[in-house]
């Protein structure tokens, strides 16, 4: 455990030193503020609170941005160290390869969590001040959204390590990572939507649809946020979908945990097989 924590600590220190943490925090904070101020104008009549609107607009932002940041951090973890020559030295120490993966995961997760909490949190604070809604209302949903975002990031970190442990070259790892990002953040939902329209409920019954949604961590994230906030569901006009959904929060949370644990286990396995 000590080795794992040592590796995690080193990753965090590097994240601070090479400005990763500062850059992502600023990016998330600025985008969150911009989006919420632009997005708060047309809410007037739905009765949604400012923070609820923000939960909705931020989760749309998160679905694109957080997986991208997570994959940027993680796709390089194994193959990058191998190419720079630092991996050989690290593995000559008394550490197991799964400890390397887990240590890097914990370190990167802290980096991501700091950026998300500070970036989104600051934007949330600013908005609730300016809108005059006060602090108490909507904060539970907002907090859950931040926690869900960190969970989504964790899933894509884990996927990135598996890619990194598999790829022989950094360029290949980056290519696969971008492909995975496109698939889960964009293509999957578009294809699913298209199939639903064509299918007209013949093959894709609600249970099948639910299963298909669980197969994409980005959709799990979306549903988690809706399940967590009635106000937000109202604001998206998806209240119906959220209440109809046969997927209660525990199922969604387990799916997200699965999306973290399985890719991590896969990454450890691939890394153990990797030749140096």
């Amino acid at each position: 455990m000590n080795a794992t924590l040592a590796i995690a600590g080193k990753e965090i220190r590097e994240g601070l030193r090479n400005r990763w943490i500062v850059a992502t925090t600023l990016l998330l904070g600025l985008l969150a503020l911009t989006l919420s101020f632009l997005g708060s104008a047309p809410t007037g009549s739905t009765g949604a609170r400012a923070l609820d609107v923000m939960v909705v607009s931020l989760s749309s932002l998160t679905i694109f941005l957080i997986p991208l940041i997570a994959l940027l951090l993680s796709h390089d973890a194994v193959v990058g160290e191998a190419e720079r020559g630092t991996l050989l030295l690290l593995l000559s120490y008394p550490v197991a390869r799964w400890q390397v993966i887990l240590g890097k995961f914990l370190g990167h997760l802290v980096i991501l969590a700091i950026a998300t909490i500070i970036g989104y949190g600051a934007a949330g604070l600013a908005l609730s001040f300016l809108s005059g809604d006060g602090f108490s209302e909507g904060w539970a949903a907002f907090g859950r959204m931040i926690a869900n975002s960190i969970g989504l990031g964790a899933a894509f970190l884990a996927i990135g390590y598996a890619v990194s442990a598999l790829a022989r070259e950094r360029g290949v790892a980056a290519g696969i990572a971008i492909g995975i990002w496109l698939l889960f953040a964009l293509v999957y939902d578009m294809v699913l939507l298209g199939v639903l329209v064509v299918d007209q409920g013949a093959v894709i019954t609600p249970p099948v649809l639910n299963a298909l949604l669980l197969l994409n961590p980005a959709d799990v994230y979306r549903l988690l946020n809706l399940a967590g906030s009635e106000g937000a569901a109202l604001a998206t006009g998806m209240a119906g979908l959220a209440s109809d959904s046969a997927l209660p929060a525990p199922v969604l949370v387990s799916a997200m945990i699965g999306w973290i644990v399985f890719p991590l286990a896969l990454a450890s396995m691939l890394f153990s097989r990797r030749q140096l």
């Binding site: 040592a6 720079r84 020559g85 050989l88 030295l89 593995l91 120490y93 550490v95 030749q275």
Partner: protein, 301 residues
């Protein structure tokens, strides 16, 4: 068996169809300093990776500090390794990096003293990205020495070190050796290994060509002993009566002799028999370079 630090029996390692190491057997004892000599691609680095358990052998068995290195990583706690062209994360300082590695080995108290030992005390709080190659190499040495290792695997340890650091490096190796640590170092700089290695292993294309002390290898190789003489006018009479098998090249008062090693004393006695003909004499036994070249030519068969 338990006394041996490292023992390899019939170890092979193939990467696809490429043979990196083929049927290598040797063992290393505590306190030995052993030079591993060979071209690039001769299998030196592969051997070290095998001993670290970073790759598994395709055939044969090996044991390091009483364990199979492929099974667990417990033995690595007592191994120090310096890879060829050691690299570090450039954004951290030497103190942070050494602290990190020390934590992995449970040797955090050694960070300060080791930084001082390799002469990086003043630069310790600078980013490693600003370091010269020599400084990185010194940091590499410092991390290899963490945790008082019983086995040191050093791949090209002295590249980039200036002469005074080289000396202090070999001094450190000697101290560790006298405490019972086994040191295996690979190098191209054969000359500087000559006085320092108890034993030499010569690798060529994955095979172990020769294994022994430098003296033993000299006997095996039967390379001639070379002498350089400064002579005066009465030399030709002496030359005519030299023992058989001695080769002579003359130029302008300087004579180069090459004689078989067993005849060395005979030749010297003969040279000294005529009081003044030889004014000065230098004797060079075959160097490690020559031995290496000899074994590579296939002389070791």
């Amino acid at each position: 068996m338990a006394d041996l630090t490292v023992s390899l029996r019939g170890v092979s390692r193939h990467f696809g169809r490429q043979i990196a190491v083929e049927d290598v057997s040797f063992s290393l004892e505590p306190g030995q300093t052993v030079a591993l000599v060979g071209h690039n691609g001769a299998g030196k680095t592969t051997l070290m990776k095998l001993m670290l358990g970073l790759i598994r052998p395709s055939g044969g068995t090996l044991s390091v500090l009483g364990e199979d290195p492929g099974r667990g990583f417990g033995a690595r706690r007592e191994i120090g390794f310096l890879p060829e062209n050691v690299a570090f994360n450039p954004s951290l300082t030497a103190r942070e990096l050494l602290g990190f590695y020390a934590r992995l080995k449970g040797a955090r108290s050694e960070v300060g003293p080791l930084l001082a030992q390799v002469g990086l005390e003043e630069a310790a709080n600078r980013r490693v990205g600003t370091y010269s190659k020599g400084m990185r190499q010194r940091l590499g040495l410092a991390q290899a020495l963490l945790g008082s290792p019983r086995l040191l695997l050093l791949d090209e340890p002295t590249t980039g070190l200036d002469p005074s650091l080289r000396l202090s490096f070999y001094e450190t190796i000697r101290t560790l050796g006298s405490k019972g640590a086994t040191v295996l170092l690979s190098s191209h700089a054969l000359g500087e290994l000559e006085q320092r290695a108890d034993r030499v292993l010569i690798m060529h294309r994955g095979r172990l060509l020769a294994d022994g002390t430098i003296g033993e290898l000299r006997r095996l190789a039967e390379l001639p002993v070379r002498m350089r003489l400064r002579v005066n006018g009465s030399w030709p009479a002496l030359e005519a009566a030299l023992p058989p098998g001695t080769e002579v090249t003359r130029s302008d008062g300087i004579v180069d002799l090459a004689c078989p090693a067993p005849r060395k004393m005979e030749v010297i006695r003969h040279l000294a028999s005529d009081g003044t003909a030889v004014k000065d004499m230098e004797i060079t036994p075959p160097s490690l370079d020559e031995l290496y070249a000899h074994f590579l030519r296939g002389g070791g068969e």
